[in-house]
């Protein structure tokens, strides 16, 4: 089995899985019906993308593992998503700030992944980027709406941005699988996306009358499977059915 490619695919897919799970958990809890539907549609897009990645990963694994096994039956340390996507919905400003900080990265990442020499990955990227451009538009609008809204909404959005900022640097860390895949022309060199990312994010924050955090203190670990305390709770819910009723289907 191509170990590096397998891990590389999981690294991409797990971000979308965990963020999709976070957004899906808002079903019935969105601040308005339209926003609720938007959040769950974003979740659905992410899960759709995840299926394509895990199906491919299952093929690479070449054993009896299915896409569902990969999604549902790993231990916490085996999930390779960045810490950003697992952060909780403290309030709606956090939900949108998390989405926005990931969407800007996601769009830049997929733009590059489209050029991958791996035709499956480039096809998934080509398909997903159209959806992600809508996500980015949606979350950016909320940054502006809350940032440039009332005193209260501005304060809350600034707090969310300041707090989540600490998880942004990890997006640009290269893993060993990354390095191996870059050398084969398959992977994206995420370190090269950093400048464009902070430029785009800063532009939108400024447009939203928000301050760009100056903190240089960053958290990392997710890409190595070392997660924040929130991850266990997410997995407990995500994996509940498969753990309670192993191999169940519907």
């Amino acid at each position: 089995m191509k170990e590096n490619l397998y891990k590389y695919i999981l690294g991409i897919a797990d971000n979308s899985l965990i963020l999709g799970q976070r957004m899906g958990a808002l079903t019935g809890h969105g601040p308005s019906l339209e926003t609720d539907i938007a959040c769950t549609n974003i979740s659905l897009d992410l899960f759709g993308q995840v299926r394509s990645y895990y199906q491919y990963a299952a093929k690479i694994a070449g054993d009896k593992r299915t896409e569902d096994d990969i999604a549902m039956l790993r231990q916490e340390r085996e999930y390779l998503n960045v810490l950003l996507v697992e952060q909780p919905d403290t309030d709606f400003a956090y939900t949108m700030a998390r989405q926005f900080l990931f969407d800007v990265y996601h769009f830049l990442f997929l733009t590059e992944l489209q050029k991958s020499t791996d035709l499956t990955l480039s096809a998934i990227a080509n398909k997903s980027i159209k959806e992600v451009s809508y996500h980015q538009r949606f979350s950016s609008d909320w940054i502006k709406r809350l940032g440039d809204g009332t005193e209260e909404s501005h304060k809350r959005m600034q707090t969310a941005i300041n707090d989540l900022w600490t998880y942004t640097d990890e997006l640009f860390h290269q893993t060993d699988a990354d390095k191996a895949m870059i050398s084969e022309g398959i992977g994206v060199d995420v370190s090269k996306l950093k400048e464009a990312y902070y430029k785009k994010v800063s532009d939108i924050l400024e447009e939203s009358t928000l301050e760009v955090p100056e903190s240089k203190y960053f958290q990392k670990g997710g890409k190595q499977g070392i997660h924040t305390e929130h991850m266990g709770y997410i997995l407990a819910e995500l994996q509940y059915m498969q753990r309670a009723y192993p191999n169940m289907e519907w």
Partner: protein, 166 residues
């Protein structure tokens, strides 16, 4: 880039046209543009379909419906889901667009007009009920991932707009 050519055996067109999109029953999957190829190989029909959106839950049903329709016509078949080239709203046929409008869903505008509408709030989307373009967007995401929610300022009817995907 892979060329977006459709390769469908003429003998199969009428059969596949009877299969409809489970979420928009008036629309045939052929008019939707999701069938990318269909041909007979050693007596078995091989069909390739492509999803509108990645998370489209209708794809599994569409696959099953295609097999059932072909079986009824006396064919065994295999259905494969392909991702490249990615589906675009340009592949909806003129007949498909008409079916959408008749069903109460505004058909996608072109890419530029779509941006004007979704980003700049321009009033270009035509209300499928009364034909007025005095309409406003309520939400970028509608009842399914492929649609946005609109409302007509003249007749007040809410309706779905099929978002442009390119």
């Amino acid at each position: 880039m892979i060329e977006a050519e459709q390769n469908i055996d003429v003998k199969l067109i009428a059969i596949l046209e009877k299969v409809s999109d489970p979420e928009i029953p008036v629309l045939s999957i052929m008019d939707m543009g999701v069938v990318r190829s269909a041909f007979i190989e050693n007596g078995v029909v091989k069909v390739q379909i492509t999803p509108t959106y990645s998370g489209c839950p209708a794809m599994d049903v569409i696959g099953d419906d295609i097999k059932a329709a072909l079986k009824l016509a006396g064919f065994e078949s295999e259905v494969e889901l392909i991702l490249a080239p990615a589906w675009t709203t340009d592949w909806i046929t003129p007949r498909g667009r008409k079916a959408l409008e008749d069903y109460g869903i505004a058909a996608p505008l072109g890419e530029e007009a779509d941006k004007d509408v979704l980003l700049h709030g321009k009033r270009l989307v035509k209300c499928p009920q009364c034909g007025s373009t005095n309409t406003k967007m309520i939400s970028q995401f509608g009842s399914t991932a492929c649609k946005a929610q609109f409302q007509c300022n003249d007749c007040q009817e809410p309706f779905d707009y099929f978002k442009c995907l390119k």
